[in-house]
């Protein structure tokens, strides 16, 4: 699978400022290879960029501008709240870690700078990996050592993220986005501060379509609240509609801000998810 992943690259759409060395073009001019435009020479410009052929013809100094391919930070927010442990044997949490690991490998192969940032109600200790595929093992160890716990608080996490990481970059959020509060606004904040969003919603099939019927005593995995209710097929249809509507709201946030949204049930294998929905969405190419 790693061999197949090496053909991929994390792709971002926004023109973000950054050091040279990336693999995605930017609208910012800079020391690139691809020609972008000409402009008048101003005092202090680098004489090496002057187009001397044009000067010989027009006797005016024009400066050649090149397309910048900046190297921007890729930050992966991995949800470690307790809700990620629900479903079949905590598969959401494992699934999110595998997915984060795979994307981390894709980024490291392309010499991207990857920041693995776990979160629940606040940001946990991050792990920054960069410099090639040989840095993948520490990243894998970091992901393996992660433990789920705590409630989800996207608003607090967004605030902390913005203050911690002022440099704009690509933000990949891997989460079930099941926050009792509103998670649309915090995601919008991230986008407003110039980050490009790739939202990957991981959910267990029972999160979308509960298989149970009859009298249920439900307990919220994060808050511990209980609700007793009767559940039947009609109620299940209404439940699924509400879940889909919520997923659509998150998708709208991503698309509205020129980001990407991918919805991944845990019964889809990770490799199929990467080469299927993630590639189709343009998050990796």
């Amino acid at each position: 699978m790693l061999e197949k992943l090496e053909r991929l690259a994390i792709h971002w759409k926004k023109s973000l400022p950054g050091l040279v060395g990336g693999h995605n073009t930017s609208r910012f001019a800079g020391p690139g290879q691809e020609f972008l435009d000409h402009r008048h020479f101003h005092h202090g410009d680098d004489l090496r960029a002057v187009n001397w052929r044009v000067y010989l013809r027009l006797e005016k100094l024009f400066l050649k501008m090149f397309q910048l391919e900046p190297r921007i930070p890729v930050r992966m927010l991995v949800d470690t709240s307790r809700s990620m442990l629900t479903g079949a044997d905590g598969s959401k949490f494992d699934y999110a870690r595998k997915l984060a690991g795979a994307l981390c490998y894709v980024g490291l192969v392309r010499l991207d700078s990857i920041c693995l940032q776990p979160f629940s109600d606040k940001l946990a200790d991050a792990f920054i990996a960069s410099g090639g595929r040989h840095r993948f093992q520490p990243a894998l160890n970091f992901l393996s050592a992660l433990r789920a716990g705590g409630q989800t608080d996207f608003l607090e996490v967004a605030r902390e993220f913005i203050s911690t990481y002022p440099q704009q970059g690509l933000v990949i959020v891997i989460s079930d986005f099941l926050d009792d509060g509103d998670c649309e606004k915090p995601l919008q904040y991230l986008s407003d501060f110039g980050h490009e969003l790739i939202l990957i919603q991981v959910f267990d099939p029972s999160d979308r379509e509960p298989p149970w019927e009859g009298e249920l005593d439900l307990e919220d995995a994060e808050t511990g609240q209980h609700v007793e209710l009767a559940f039947d097929s009609d109620a299940r249809a209404e439940y699924t509609a509400a879940f889909d509507e919520y997923a659509q709201a998150i998708r709208r946030v991503a698309l509205r801000n020129n980001g990407r949204y991918v919805s991944l049930p845990t019964n889809v294998p990770v490799d199929e998810a990467i080469f299927g929905p993630l590639v189709r969405s343009g998050a990796v190419e």
Binding site: T86, K92, L178, E215, L216, D217, E228, L229, Y239, A242
Partner: protein, 642 residues
């Protein structure tokens, strides 16, 4: 009604258990399921019903009731109830025919057994042809003569072949057997019919727990009878050739009787006594008779009343075979017979001959040969006792001949040394023997055996000193030692024999103290072992038929000649609520109607309704309700528009 032969109580119990199971399953099915979910936001958003917080434990009582009623209906359907009388399957009856000893009692027309047979046949004739009957012969044991059988000729044959036995009636066991047979083998339980006199032991007479479906065909149980109850014989401990005889006679009747009790041995009179017996009285008489010969001892009761008055002559006479009194022939070769004579010939069971050593014959006809200070060239063929043999010719090698040897200990752990004690006796000269592996030391000095026994054929005991030529002649251990040696060599001769004539059934034998149960043997005439139990000092065995049983316990032999018929003392009277006599002929009435299909349909319908109303089809029901509601709304809107 038939349900695996269950009674009403058992049927109700089964129904209760099933109902309890249904309630448990219902509560389990309707109980809330605890579930951990990622979030509750969609559950409330899904607008599901959350009004169940304070519901009762049983949430849908009608559903539960419907399920229980349906299951009970199905259970009743399995039971196969019918309206009216079943035309096709008859009832199954058990006919208990009293075959106890008393049924051989005489009546004017024959015996009580004849009366019981004719009553049983009359009962058979009164039954419908499809009814099945099991014939059970009841005495001390209840024995089925047929299975449940509808073939009347087979049943009548079994009745005809039933004969009085020698044992008393065990009525409770017969009833229990009949009930069990009906429970396990019948489809429609019929009657339990008892035909007989019902003469039972005292403890059985108080039996009140008669089966509810019992019918009694009574036979007159009363009758005047005086009979031999028990005869006991034993050898007199002082004079082994004298038999002590005890005879018990009982008056079973309701009037006093005078009888003559006469004993004969081999046709010769032994003794007689005149007895006057009050009603229910038992009297014991004792006689003595001297004989060593084997023969038949006959005890007879001669009624002074008219002979026909004794209804049960079977217990008026008993014959016991007496064994002969065998004596042990001992030949003593001794130069000083006067010394040994009191030691050996004083035993009445020993027939001793004293001969000088010169007349020694190895083929001498004797059970035991005693060689006193003398060793022949050819050893005797019989068992032998060697007293102080010459050292070089001893049959057991002499290791050493010592002067001033002291007898220090006896070996009480051996049969020969059991019970022997003496002070340390010093001999002027004694032989110390070398033992072979099978040799048994009986008495020992400090450095070896002084008396040695060698088992095998022939047996041999060698005494390394002169018992009567030393201080041992003053010790009690000396005659006891000789007694032990003779018992060890010829145990059959010294068996303590008792002979008893008794009745068939359970026999209790009082055991001597310290008898090892592992060494007890109870065997019949044909040497087959009979099962027995030992409880404390009492041995019990059971003989269901007349037999001679030998009980061997160590040196004691009890012979039980169980040939006297067991005439029970009391008469069982059936409770008032029990049916009596031959029923009227029961040829059939109206055909029955099967109810089970209706019950099955009703039960199934109940379960279907429950499933539709309360089961998984609730969705179907709700959708139908919604559709009905939406159609009603459309209809209302159309009316409004029009």
């Amino acid at each position: 009604m038939y349900l695996l032969n269950l009674g009403l109580g058992e049927l109700l119990g089964l129904a209760g258990a099933i109902s309890a199971g249904i309630v448990a399953l219902y509560l389990l099915d309707r109980s809330k399921r605890r579930q951990l979910v990622a979030t509750l936001r969609f559950w409330s958003a899904a607008d599901v019903r959350t009004d169940l917080k304070h519901r009762r434990r049983i949430q849908q009582p009608w559903s539960l009731l419907l399920q229980i009623v349906s299951i009970l209906l199905l259970l009743l359907a399995v039971a196969g109830p019918r309206l009216g009388v079943d035309q096709e399957s008859g009832r199954d009856h058990v006919l208990i025919l009293d075959t106890s000893a008393w049924m051989g009692a005489r009546t004017r027309q024959g015996t009580l057994m004849d009366e019981a047979r004719s009553l049983a046949r009359a009962y058979l004739r009164s039954l419908p042809g499809r009814d099945r009957v099991m014939i059970v012969r009841a005495d001390a044991l209840a024995t089925p003569a047929t299975a449940f059988e509808s073939n009347r000729s087979v049943l009548e044959e079994a009745i005809r072949e039933s004969q009085p036995s020698a044992s008393a009636l065990n009525l409770s066991q017969a009833f229990e057997f009949a009930q069990r047979a009906q429970k396990l083998q019948t489809q429609r339980v019929g009657e339990i019919v008892f035909a007989g006199a019902g003469r039972v032991p005292e403890e059985e007479a108080k039996l009140t727990a008669a089966p509810r479906n019992l019918r009694v065909l009574p036979v007159n149980a009363t009758g005047e009878n005086v009979g031999l109850r028990k005869i006991g014989l034993r050898r007199s401990p002082k004079m082994p050739d004298v038999w002590e005889i005890f005879v018990a006679v009982k008056n079973y009747g309701s009037r006093p009787h005078a009888v003559d009790l006469a004993l004969q041995f081999g046709g010769a009179p032994v003794g007689s006594k005149h007895l006057s017996l009050a009603p229910g009285a038992e009297e014991q008489s004792s006689f003595t008779y001297r004989t060593k010969a084997a023969g038949d001892l006959e005890a007879r009761i001669l009624s002074q009343d008219k002979p026909a008055r004794d209804a049960f002559p079977q217990d008026d006479r008993a014959v016991i075979e007496l064994p002969s009194q065998q004596s042990l022939r001992v030949v003593v070769y001794s130069a000083e017979p006067q010394m040994l004579r009191p030691l050996i010939a004083s035993n009445p069971q020993v027939d001793a001959d004293f001969e000088p050593p010169a007349r020694y014959d190895p083929q001498v006809k004797a059970d035991i040969v005693v060689l006193d200070q003398f060793a022949p060239a050819v050893r005797p063929h019989a068992d032998s006792i060697w007293i102080a043999p010459p050292a070089g010719k001893s049959p057991i090698p002499v290791r050493e001949t010592r002067s001033k040897a002291t007898l220090e200990r006896w070996r009480p752990d051996t049969t020969l040394g059991a019970g022997l004690r003496s002070k340390d006796v010093e001999f002027d000269s004694a032989e110390i023997f070398s033992l072979s592996p099978n040799d048994i030391p009986v008495a020992e000095a400090s450095d070896g055996a002084l008396i040695v026994a060698r088992p095998g054929t022939p047996k041999m005991v060698v005494i390394g000193f002169e018992p009567l030529g030393s201080q041992m002649k003053y010790e009690l251990a000396t005659p006891l030692m000789i007694e032990n040696i003779l018992r060890w060599m010829a145990p059959e001769t010294f068996l303590r024999r008792e002979v008893q004539a008794g009745t068939v059934g359970t026999v209790n034998v009082a055991l001597d103290k310290g008898v090892d149960p592992a060494r007890i043997r109870v065997i019949t005439e044909d040497q087959r072992p009979l099962p027995f139990t030992v409880e404390g000092n009492t041995l019990r065995f059971f003989a269901g038929a007349p037999a001679t049983v030998r009980v061997l316990t160590g040196d004691r032999e009890n012979v039980y000649s169980l040939t006297l018929p067991d005439v029970a003392e009391a008469v069982w009277s059936a409770p008032q609520n029990v049916r009596h006599g031959i029923p009227r002929s029961q040829e059939e009435n109206s055909p029955g109607t099967d109810l089970w299909p209706w019950l099955a349909v009703l039960g199934g319908a109940g379960l279907l309704i429950d499933w539709l109303l309360f089961g998984r089809s609730r969705a179907f029901r709700l959708r139908a309700a919604k559709m009905a509601a939406s159609m009603a709304l459309k209809r209302a809107a159309w009316r409004k528009a029009s």
